[in-house]
Amino acid sequence: MVRSRRRPDLMDPSTLAQLGGVELVAREVVEGFLMGLHRSPHRGFSAEFAELRMYQPGDDLRYIDWRMYGRSDRFYVKQFEEETNLRAYLLVDVSASMGWSSDPPALPTKLWYARHLAAALSLILLRQGDTVGLSAFHDEVVDRLPPRGGRRQWHELVRRLSGLEATGGTQAQTALRELAVRLRRRGLVILLSDLLVDPEQTRTALRFLRHRGHEVLVFHLLDPGERELPAAADARFVDPETDAELQVSVADVRSEYRAAVTDALAEWERSLRPHGIDYEVVDTGRPLSLALRAYLRKRERLG
């Protein structure tokens, strides 16, 4: 009997959160995500044999191990250890604003989303034989894991990601500058942040990273509740990072606010794209696969 199972990478984050911890979720997402591709182009196929695995639809028929088929009457494909050619740095924003959700517990926080997206990206990168490092920051870098490859690195990454807490303000530019100085070898820098930061200084820092030869991919995590003001009449809105308050009649500014968010996103895009910095707005209410696809597009360009 065939049991249909929904692919985890296509699940809503709220559903995904019920599956388990970071590691399990990331594995499920990545497996589902890779299975959904027609082939697995990002698995290395170098001359050095690594292992056999069960054939999956979409795998290249050239790599089927016909001897194993003759012995076991099952299809296996041969996999090879690819040479490491990419060093990836995951920069995760853990400021207080990342711990916010517009509709808890139905909608996970932006940090949850960043944590799982980072884990999934790490798994993909590690499976491709790349090395992955991690830096978590708010006003300063609060955690750092140098880039390495292998299963142990994966487990360490998951452990570090699981322990992240959303606290403090966001002076991302400081942390980014510090990281830019530390990252001496060129690589892929993936920033996961809600970008509630000083825009100009942050752009300058990102451009500095680009200037240092890094490929930069920015995931702008946006809660749906940040695109639209809540359905309230009048309210005092409080910034959890700065404790700044603003008295607003929601009905009066709703449309202007929507326009302001749109303008801000467009401004990020306008200011980053010309400098070769990829910018993706990630809605935390949408499946992780969408963000992963953005990564794949970037990875394909990198070769």
Binding site: R236, F237, R258, D263, E280, L290, A291, R293
Partner: protein
């Protein structure tokens, strides 16, 4: 500008709600943790002025909506002529008297009056209260109605054949309006304004309640020909009832019309059959022989060819036919009375018999009053004043309160008033007694002398009617015995009064006296009405013969004829009408009629416009509240989430 429901203006105080919300509400708002505050700050910074302007615009729109709703609820009326008026008590006096049946061109006068009355109610609203008073049916009960019910009542009105007492109707209408206690009130008088509907001469009336109620008089009716021809009288037997098996005559008098117009055919109908015909010139009379009849009742009518006003071209009569009455003398009445009785006996108009069997007892000095208590009795005053005590004692014994007293004034006196159908103008009275009775005693003065003293009095208080004559019937006391009126007077006493007389016809709309034993009356259209014989029948709407019954037994036939006054067509002028009705609005054209009715109209009621405007402002408020960023967002590319 005014308001029909001004208390609703209090609702305008609700404008304080949006004001309070605008000024105070935001200080009591809830606290929301919101990390994207920088976008809000940016919004506030970039759009502060526009937001403030829009908030102000929204505030103004919301306040305007509240004010418009309050104005609509208060029923704002803008100046100018229009349909709006406060709830009004309206009394429509529709003149359906006999003259309203006149034909003008293709229509009856009443049809035109009904159209005018309906026009007058065109502006009425369901909040108004309307009474329709039919002037030709004064007994009609006034019932308040809705305008629609009033219109139905107007449309179903027909000419009544009675006289319309418009002055009484106007007084009654004003009283109704005053009692209605409504915001406004007025009286619409819709009439052909014939003088017969008013008192002949203006007279001062005391200030009555409702005197300030405006009266609008419709005077737009064309005059039409005034020379209406009508039957003035149809008198049978010269006022004396016909005797059984003897011929009699009917005198028919035609009046009005054009005397130069030639003769008019007149026909006599008795018991439904033509019994005579004549051609009469208007202003003249024709005498038509009729009879003989057996004992009983004779009924019929005389009619002339119809003209524009047809209801007065027929007059009805109903008379009893009896055998000649038996007369008895209870004493010496003198040679003149005896001679007169001999003449009547020889002519077959009366019979002389014993007091016990007499229909009429002539009692000189009251002699023998007790002997025939059921007969009609005539008490002749004695020539000798010393007999007065004995006469008064006999009257007292007969249960009568009338007395004769000797101290009447001296000298000769003429006849001042007479209800007796005999020419008594030449009679001079030298000796007479004063006829007196305590106040309230029944009795009717039939003949009054020029010095004011009663001379012949009819008394109905005892078991049978009694006639008191204040002088002895001899040539010493008066000139009557030697006057030509002597025999006719005695004949009237014996065959007219003594036989019950010929009842004068009642006019349509007048009260019809009934026989005391009557239990039912059949009207000319065949309707049987239960009645109390001790009362009068007031609903005499139709001309014709009314039949009084006791059970199934016919008691009496009663003729009811159109009022002659209604036939004399003469419309009042504005001044004459004002002199009789007081202050009024005289309207003689249809355009003014629609303007002068509902005089408290205050203009156009605007609640529909105000509600529509409020709705438009609400939609505008919704649009303004929802507008803003869409215009900008359409001009800026929006990054979509991956």
């Amino acid at each position: 500008m005014s308001f029909l429901s001004p208390w609703f203006l209090l609702a305008a105080t609700a404008v304080a709600v949006p004001l309070a919300l605008h000024l105070f509400h935001r200080h009591e708002s809830r606290r929301v943790v919101f990390p994207a505050l920088r976008y809000l700050l940016r919004t506030e910074k970039e759009h502060a002025r526009r937001i403030r302007l829009r908030q102000l615009l929204l505030l103004l729109l919301r306040c305007a909506v509240v004010v418009l709703l309050a104005l609509a609820g208060a029923r704002l009326v803008v100046s100018g002529r229009g349909a709006a008026h406060p709830p009004t008590a309206v009394v429509v006096i529709l003149d359906n008297s006999l003259s309203s049946g006149r034909v003008l061109g293709e229509d009856r006068v009443l049809d035109r009056l009904k159209a005018a009355a309906l026009d007058g109610l065109a502006a009425a609203t369901p909040e108004d209260r309307v009474w329709v008073l039919r002037a030709g049916e004064p007994w009609d009960v006034a019932v308040p109605a809705t305008p629609d019910e009033a219109r139905v009542r107007i449309r179903t009105t027909e000419p009544s054949g009675a006289r319309g007492d418009l002055q009484s109707a106007v007084r009654r209408a004003r009283q109704l309006v005053a009692d209605a206690d409504m915001a406004a009130g007025e009286v619409h008088l819709v009439s052909d304004l014939q003088a017969s509907g008013f008192d002949p001469t203006p007279r001062e009336t005391p200030e009555a309640e409702g005197a300030d109620v405006p009266v609008v008089v419709w005077a737009g009716l064309e005059a039409g020909p005034a020379d209406n021809r009508y039957l003035l009288e149809a008198e049978i037997g010269g006022g004396l009832p016909p005797l059984a098996n003897r011929r009699t005559e009917i005198a028919v008098t035609l009046a009005g019309g054009d005397p130069q117009g030639g003769e008019v055919p007149v026909r006599l109908f008795v018991d439904g059959r033509v019994r005579g015909a004549a051609a009469v010139v208007p202003g003249a009379a024709a005498v038509l022989p009729v009879g003989p009849f057996p004992p009983g009742w004779v009924e019929g009518y005389v009619e002339a060819d119809p003209d524009a006003l047809r209801d007065d071209d027929r007059r009805w009569f109903a008379v009893p036919v009896r055998p000649p009455p038996t007369v008895a003398l209870s004493g010496d009445a003198g040679v003149f009375v005896s001679s007169a009785l001999d003449v009547l006996t020889d002519a077959g108009r009366a019979r002389v018999g014993s007091p016990a069997s007499a229909d009429v007892l002539l009692a000189p000095a009251g002699a023998g009053l007790d002997a025939v208590p059921d007969a009609r009795r005539v008490v002749l005053a004695p020539a000798d004043p010393s007999l007065l005590p004995a006469v008064n004692r006999r009257l007292a014994d007969a249960g009568l309160d009338w007395r004769l007293r000797a101290d009447a004034g001296g000298g000769e006196a003429g006849i001042a008033e007479s209800a007796v159908p005999v020419e008594l103008d030449a009679v001079r009275v030298r000796q007479r007694y004063l006829l007196e009775a305590p106040a309230g005693t029944p009795g009717t003065v039939l003949v009054r002398l020029s010095d004011g003293t009663p001379w012949i009095v009819a008394v109905n208080g005892g078991r049978a009617p009694l006639l008191l004559v204040g002088s002895p019937l001899d040539d010493q006391a008066s000139s009557l015995p030697v006057d030509a009126a002597m025999v006719p007077l005695v004949e009237w006493i014996v065959t007219g009064w003594g036989a019950g007389g010929v009842r004068a016809p009642t006019q349509v709309g007048g009260a019809l006296p009934l026989p005391s034993a009557a239990t039912e009356v059949e009207t000319p259209d065949g309707t049987r009405l239960p009645v109390d014989g001790s009362l009068e029948l007031r609903t005499t709407r139709l001309a014709g013969i009314y039949r009084a019954f006791r059970g199934d037994s016919l008691l009496e036939l009663l003729a009811v004829n159109p009022p002659v006054s209604e036939s004399m067509l003469a419309a009042l002028t504005e001044d004459e009408a004002e002199a009789r009705l007081g202050e009024m609005a005289w309207v003689d054209n249809p355009d003014r009629w629609s303007r002068e009715t509902f005089t408290r109209r205050q203009g156009y009621e605007s609640w529909r416009i105000l509600l529509a405007l409020a709705l438009v402002l609400l939609l505008l408020e919704t649009w303004v509240a929802a507008s803003g960023g869409q215009r900008r967002s359409s001009a800026t590319p929006v990054p979509s989430p991956s």
